[in-house]
Amino acid sequence: MVRGKLALRLTAPWFWLALGSLPAGGGTGTATETLSATLTPVGALTTPSTATLTTSSNTFQPFTASVPVNYQVRTTRTGSGGAITLQVASDFSPTGGPTAASGALTYVCSGANLGTACSGTQTASTTTSTPVLTVPASACTGGGGACSSQNPNSMNLTFTLVDSPVYSTGTYSANVKFTISAM
């Protein structure tokens, strides 16, 4: 029963097609194997765990901080590309100081070496995601050629926070959540 099944498989046409050649009857044979990988769109990013907003002014000029963003992305040929966005996940606390909800926190994007950084001054929001970067279809990080030569890719955000005289003195913190997506 077992021997019969084996003989049937060896003579089946699909077996020889899978090997890539039919036996020639001699002592030498070749076989090919097709390796297949399905590449899915990928997006990953890293940002510093903390960034400190500072000012050198004592006339209520704004606080600023530079935040580097490193990212890796691969988009499909036919998809809509990829994007990085941000949202203020938790507003400045404790109370008495600045709030992103009031529109006091803005940012400017620059220096993206893959994709297009957001243009102009963006106002960070606690309720909606705002643009940081857009990546076109058929884009990929690293390796050169059709992909970027850098790995990871990088860009920079400069955050600006209004300094108002009415803020109570103290230290305030807010969490900004970055999201990268790829299709």
């Binding site: 903390t50 907003l53 002014s57 400045f92 008495g96 600045p98 969490n175």
Partner: protein
């Protein structure tokens, strides 16, 4: 057997297509931190204040007013703010008024300050000196100016003494110092 193989192939195809269509995403979080401290700054709007008198009888002093804009934020519980002035360069050339060693008893450079809320002006007239800083205004805890600053001023009064030599313009320098905690 045939039916089973066909089902597996279809399932694999569906899984493969699902992988191609699915968007991938990742996240990262950065904590933005800011230390809001006490701030104090001052703009002297009147770079040079001319002291003048309309009198010809030495009865009225030379007067003039220096306009100021202050920026202030003091600590919310125990903060304070102060504004002072000091004559850092006495009148020159020689022969005229002097703050450090007045030519005659009773000669003086005095001032009366005004400071808009939330500041409090020192009570004038106050005699300016070359040796110590004298008060112009103070602020309490949790005081804040407008973002564009608030107004203050110093109204000067300089004795007109007959012994001052005529024919010269005498100049002194006053330095204002503002601070906040």
């Amino acid at each position: 057997m045939t039916k089973k193989t066909t089902l597996i192939i279809v399932a694999c195809a569906l899984l493969s297509m699902a992988g191609l269509a699915q968007a991938q995403s990742g996240t990262g979080t950065t904590t933005l931190s800011v230390a809001v401290g006490a701030e104090a700054a001052l703009t002297v709007n009147t770079g040079t204040t001319s002291l003048t008198t309309a009198s010809t009888t030495f009865a009225n002093p030379y007067t003039g007013t220096t306009s100021l804009t202050y920026f202030m934020r003091t600590g919310k519980t125990t903060g304070t703010g102060t504004l002072t002035l000091k004559v850092t360069a006495d009148f020159t050339p020689a022969g005229g008024p002097l703050v450090a060693t007045p030519p005659s008893a009773g000669d003086a450079l005095t001032y009366s300050p005004t400071v808009s809320s939330p500041g409090t002006a020192a009570t004038g007239p106050i005699t300016a000196t070359t040796t110590t800083a004298t008060a112009v205004g103070t602020w309490g805890a949790a005081a804040s100016s407008a973002k564009a600053g608030n107004s203050a001023s110093v109204a000067w009064s300089l004795t007109d003494d007959p012994v001052y030599a005529a024919g010269s313009t005498y100049t002194a320098t006053t330095t204002f110092t503002i601070s906040a905690t």
